[in-house]
């Protein structure tokens, strides 16, 4: 404590805080503040409008804009119950499909990539460099290029329109990025740590589980959330392989279909859109830290 008192105030502040003091006054320009507020409003109002709409009675939605709600507030949950269990929409079924598609499609590529990344990072073998560059280069391939031949194979095997095709495709498409990313993180583990374990007689399996895995949890989390958002929000892969059936198709496919066939029914579309959004938004907000870390590590999937 006494040391703290003795040190000048300046030293006690973190670097960021000192920078904050130094740059203070930057935002005092009213134009700058205005610009920031305008952007913030543009980025929130469209979502807010649809969210409010989803709670308004159908007749109100058809006859007045959502901004009139403040003068004449009335709230209903009916849109949500119609969308979830109504026979023509049945979003609850598709919600289950989305979950059933997403969990394996996140779990499988992460485990495969962990194994492969460990081999690339810590096991010496011939042709490693070339193989790694090849895997890395596969990120170039847009998945559109793979769809037609894959669909042909799936049809031949008679598994088209089942979960297996969607799981398999998502897992494979995720591999190049996942291997690259996890490899980068694994390389950062100090070699001395691995050496020490090896001297103690630990084999690759032990090193993999006892040393790599615990250190890699943040990296796995950042790729996991990425892949989760990607799979949950995906339309192209699901549309191509799962089709539109209630047995397999996820929420995005159903929502897009609803928008095409009943584009004017905003009471259904608004509630449906938020049912599709709620899970990724919650995951995103609670794991935001890892997501940002993943982004900054160059994990940008295209």
């Amino acid at each position: 404590m006494s040391v703290d008192v003795a040190t000048p105030l300046r030293e006690k502040l973190t670097r960021a805080e000192r920078r904050a003091i130094a740059t203070k006054g930057k935002l005092t320009s009213p134009w700058a503040s205005l610009a920031a507020v305008v952007i913030a409003v543009l980025w929130t109002v469209p979502t807010f409008g649809l969210l409010l709409t989803s709670f308004r009675p159908e007749a109100d939605i058809k006859n007045s804009g959502w901004w009139t709600w403040f003068a004449n507030p009335s709230v209903t949950m009916e849109n949500y119950s119609t969308v979830l269990s109504g026979s023509s929409t049945s979003f609850s079924t598709y919600f289950v499909n989305s979950i059933a598609i997403t969990l394996p499609a996140v779990f499988i590529p992460i485990s495969l990539a962990l194994l492969a990344a460990y081999a690339f990072a810590w096991i010496p073998f011939r042709g490693k460099e070339i193989l790694f560059v090849a895997v890395f280069a596969l990120q170039v391939v847009p998945l559109q290029v793979a769809l037609i031949p894959l669909l042909t194979s799936y049809v031949q095997w008679g598994i088209n329109g089942s979960y297996w095709t969607v799981w398999l495709s998502h897992s494979i498409f995720a591999l190049p990025l996942a291997i690259f990313l996890l490899h980068n993180f694994m390389k950062d583990v100090p070699a001395s740590l691995v050496e020490a374990a090896r001297v103690d007689g630990a084999g690759h399996v032990t090193i993999f589980f006892k040393i790599m895995f615990p250190l890699l949890v943040p990296a796995i989390a950042s790729f996991g959330i990425f892949q989760f958002l990607w799979v949950w929000n995906d339309l192209l892969v699901a549309l191509t392989f799962a089709g539109g059936t209630a047995d397999v198709a996820p929420l995005t496919v159903r929502l897009a279909e609803l928008s095409g066939t009943r584009g004017g029914d905003w009471h259904l579309l608004s509630a449906g859109a938020f049912i599709a959004m709620i899970v990724p938004v919650v995951v995103f907000l609670s794991l935001q830290r890892y997501f940002v870390r993943g982004l900054l590590a160059g994990s940008v999937k295209g």
Partner: protein
């Protein structure tokens, strides 16, 4: 591994109980306990490797059996049926369980077989990923290039005809024009907005909250975002000969703002080429958050002394932004621009959800889908996929080079 663990625990737990039994035979004494313990440990190891050996062999047999079954009889009907929630969730659990078993098997074999050559260990770790990639990306990419030289049914060889059509026919030229509009405007506008916002909220009291607002659209699907904006663009037909106060209320925000400003309501998504720009807005709305996050991080990484020095030289406000901030984060700016450009090239959800590719709004990624799966013209679809591939490649090469440079600077 997950499965093997409980068995290992069991093996560990049973041995302490059995070792006292062994200790009865040998006379008790401090001298003898040492080798005895050693023997006990060896017994544990032997038992452990026996258990894992049995497990590995069992797993191997199971997988070989399952693969043979599927190869001979095809997938069983129950594995393809997912009508009820219970079926769906059990299939999901089954998929994960199969996978855990494959992983356990690989790790079990590697752990069990002593003195395995490193290259063999590497091969068994890499095998599933490499086989998957070869089957799901490498071979399909080559096959798609081959198909792009065939006609719509995939039987007749037509040379480069599809490419000529894609590049010269009027309807495809609209597609190419739109793609160009997207790939130029989205990265530039999203990056500018992201950068400006990042600078404006940097180190303010409400920075975190302000960032989340712009960041949030990244969590939303492109389909969801399209619906949000379709609602903003919604249009109610204007009735002829009806006074303004009796016209039907506009429920789309943009048209209502127009009405408040005294403009005629209009159908934003119908008139080309303006409608493409209204679609572009959606992508900008989603990507600005990405630009902001990456750029904000690199702004914070600008060394203090540079800023301090510039301040002492009397720089501030916009000049600081133009002369110090932007040049310092140039590599990050390039990475952000190219990354967004790549994402934009591949986007098809927005076009499909908002206009269905009608009214001259189609782009290459959407046209690929329409030709392949709606028109059933696989030759043309493959051609468009290859064109997309060719458009993306230089961007990625450039992007990777920039990333390398950025890392060197760091």
């Amino acid at each position: 591994m997950l499965r093997a663990r409980p068995q290992l625990e069991e093996a560990r737990m049973t041995t302490p109980m059995s070792s006292p039994g062994g200790a009865v035979a040998s006379p008790p004494g401090p001298v003898d306990s040492q080798p005895d313990e050693e023997a006990g440990r060896r017994a544990i190891l032997r038992r452990r490797s026996l258990v894992s050996g049995i497990f590995t062999a069992f797993g191997l047999a199971l997988i070989v059996g399952a693969v043979t079954y599927v190869a001979v009889y095809g997938f069983p009907e129950w594995a393809l049926t997912s009508e009820t929630t219970v079926q769906k969730l059990s299939l999901m659990v089954l998929a994960i369980a199969i996978f855990v078993m494959v992983m356990t098997l690989i790790l079990g074999v590697v752990e069990r077989v002593k003195g395995m050559r490193p290259s063999l260990i590497a091969a068994s770790f890499l095998a599933p990923a490499v086989i998957g990639l070869a089957f799901g990306l490498v071979w399909p990419a080559i096959d798609t290039i081959r198909r792009s030289l065939l006609d719509r049914t995939g039987r007749e060889f037509v040379g480069l005809d599809n490419y000529v059509t894609a590049l010269t026919q009027a309807e495809f030229q609209v597609v190419l024009r739109n793609t160009a509009i997207w790939v130029i405007t989205v990265p530039i506008v999203a990056t500018i907005i992201g950068l400006v916002y990042a600078v404006l909220v940097d180190r303010t009291r409400f920075e975190k909250a302000a960032k989340i607002l712009v960041f949030m659209p990244m969590a939303i699907s492109l389909v969801g975002a399209s619906i949000i904006w379709k609602f903003v663009y919604d249009y109610r037909p204007v009735l002829e000969g009806v006074p303004a106060e009796n016209q039907p209320a506009q429920i789309g925000l943009l048209n209502q703002i127009g009405v408040w400003l005294g403009l005629e309501p209009q159908q934003f998504l119908l008139g080309a080429p303006a409608n493409t720009f209204y679609l572009v807005v959606v992508m900008v709305w989603i990507q600005a958050g990405f630009a902001m996050t990456v750029l904000s991080a690199s702004i914070k990484a600008i060394p203090d002394d540079i800023i301090e020095a510039a301040r002492l030289d009397g720089l501030g406000g916009f000049k600081m932004f133009r002369l110090i901030t932007v040049p310092s984060i140039r590599p990050a700016l390039v990475v952000v621009l190219t990354t967004i450009a790549m994402g934009t090239l591949k986007v098809f959800d927005i076009v499909r959800t908002m206009t269905g590719g009608n009214f001259d709004t189609s782009v290459v990624a959407f046209e690929f889908y329409r030709q392949s799966f709606v028109q059933q013209n696989k030759g043309m679809g493959s051609t468009l996929a290859v064109i997309l591939f060719l458009l993306v490649t230089p961007l990625i090469v450039y992007n990777v080079r920039q990333m390398r440079k950025t890392e060197e600077i760091r």
